[in-house]
Symmetry: C2
Amino acid sequence: MDFLQQSFSVRFDYKVFFTTHLFSPENPAFGKFIEGEKKKDTPPKVFFVLDEGVVAHHPDLINGIRSYFKGFPSLQLVEEMIIPGGEQAKNDEALFHKIVAAVNTRKIDRHSYLVAIGGGSVLDLAGYAAAVSHRGIRHIRIPTTVLSQNDSGVGVKNGINYFKKKNFLGTFAPPVAVFNDFHFLTTLEEVDWRSGISEAIKVALIKDAPFFQWLVQNATLLAKRDMPAMQYLIKRCADLHMQHIRSGDPFEMGSARPLDFGHWSAHKLEQLAGFNIRHGEAVAIGIALDSVYSHLSGRLSREALDQILELHQVLGLGITHPLLEVSDDKSPLLLGLEEFREHLGGRLTITLLNDIGKGEEVHEMDSALIRKASEWLKDLSSR
Amino acid sequence: MDFLQQSFSVRFDYKVFFTTHLFSPENPAFGKFIEGEKKKDTPPKVFFVLDEGVVAHHPDLINGIRSYFKGFPSLQLVEEMIIPGGEQAKNDEALFHKIVAAVNTRKIDRHSYLVAIGGGSVLDLAGYAAAVSHRGIRHIRIPTTVLSQNDSGVGVKNGINYFKKKNFLGTFAPPVAVFNDFHFLTTLEEVDWRSGISEAIKVALIKDAPFFQWLVQNATLLAKRDMPAMQYLIKRCADLHMQHIRSGDPFEMGSARPLDFGHWSAHKLEQLAGFNIRHGEAVAIGIALDSVYSHLSGRLSREALDQILELHQVLGLGITHPLLEVSDDKSPLLLGLEEFREHLGGRLTITLLNDIGKGEEVHEMDSALIRKASEWLKDLSSR
């Protein structure tokens, strides 16, 4: 059959910056970044979308931003918008429409900037609105939680939940820059500080044994909210995550899998809990489950497993949840495995551990062994 | 400031096939294409979204598709969906939700195929739904009009209208394949056949003088609905459009402009007419206006201008519209220029003609001269 061939590559470049007090007058990097990108005669508009929770903990933030922009007369700050944070925000389509409507009324165009400040949910929601408005407004992310600074905020995905399904609508749309401001971490609730570490444990377990040993050695410091330790963790974890994106299939067009060790059961747990559990808490439990499964299926040594579960304990991370108990073949956890298979398009791919730092993709899991792993963890946690 | 650099390229490849009777049992290309892409153990699902108008003109189409897929047991045809076509479909957000809901209930995943059959509006709408569902379902386009086969359908954009603004929501998302089936053209209304030629005139005028001369020489044949002439036109125009995409900035991330000669006033006319005018009709008028402006501003010879306007006449294309008359500085046409400037993010870029086949980008247009061009065309058409 007669045809024309289309082939092209699209290059994406962005920096993930690490700083504190991004909008302090002594810290010109943010303003200079946008000034440096300027390609038009007119001052680019800058539209901030802020997480309600962040604004509550940092009441001077908005005024600080306004003062900061007075130092950059070549940039045009427009009226900001504050939206609720947390996973529930991603369930509320009205919030998506609210951001898109603001893009319209504030006349934000493709050369303007939509800057999102917040946890992963606000970044996902605002990033999606930015990605589809005018087929893509320039988007800057300022993640404010451990989880978003070390994982979701530095990647290329966005999305909202739909039909109660996580990220049912979304796109792959790299930001033009990410600014990780460590100062935001100082006001995090305890559970957000700790549970955000799960993604670092995840990536260390499947990719980087020395990083896992670093986590073990620094677990007490991390639990005590030592800031230099957390800064190292975030940068190392962000780096591993970014390496994975660029070395593989950034927009997941083929069969490549994201770094989702421990995530199949975590997704189901979040759904079962009505999203009233932090993603990081669910991932910690998912990691524990797949680590025990890796041991029970003869892949992972008992010694390695114990080290993982001990790290969870020192960091105050859960290892089991009543909603994941398996009583029969119709138990929600096992249905979650089937849903994950569907989500992947028919063929199951799960990462298990052959050793610390050594993930292996498998295409089958044994229900009886999943049940045994679940019971094993329940027994351990009730001891 | 400390930072990590992210850099990667994403490669996109797709073929635009030219055929007739795509779903005839003797034409296995479509089924073989999907079979050839198959990467999973399970049969990929194929979900058709069809333009109501196409189904009305081709009442055997759906049964034909069902029979055709019986010859491909390794593919899983799911229940199709029929949606209204035409620009009004892109104004109706409920249709977007309807497609996304069908993606959910039919369990269409990232390895499934959403195949859209229809005119440009149905392709834009279904393409947008495919692009954001699960962050991108594999999407195949089967354009059925001259305009969509030679222009929009072979490109990388999708979108819906919002706040009465054309393509306010959308993405850049290349299809995995395009199948141009010439048989669909046989049932087009006269206005759709003719007005679709506008995009070929446009690209010829700014890029390809020999193609323009071919259009002049074949105008009578084209007006008589000669199929071989139209097939040549579509393939040549699609090729020029695809070359422009790959040689420039496919996702328009910089300041690169799409091939939009004659489009600034066309967009305004479509809006003023409540979208009750074909895009191709509006583009023909926009081309006439910018050609006269090019002549009046001393760029284009009178001889070349006459050739353009004569081509319009032979093809039965309009050159003026009452809604574009300029009476004062607040006339809608002049406001349209301002809106186009905003749409581009502050700096106006308009393509004018220095000669046939030679477009030039300018950053200013003179209101008095636009008015003169508009009056010039009004006088000419009333003669």
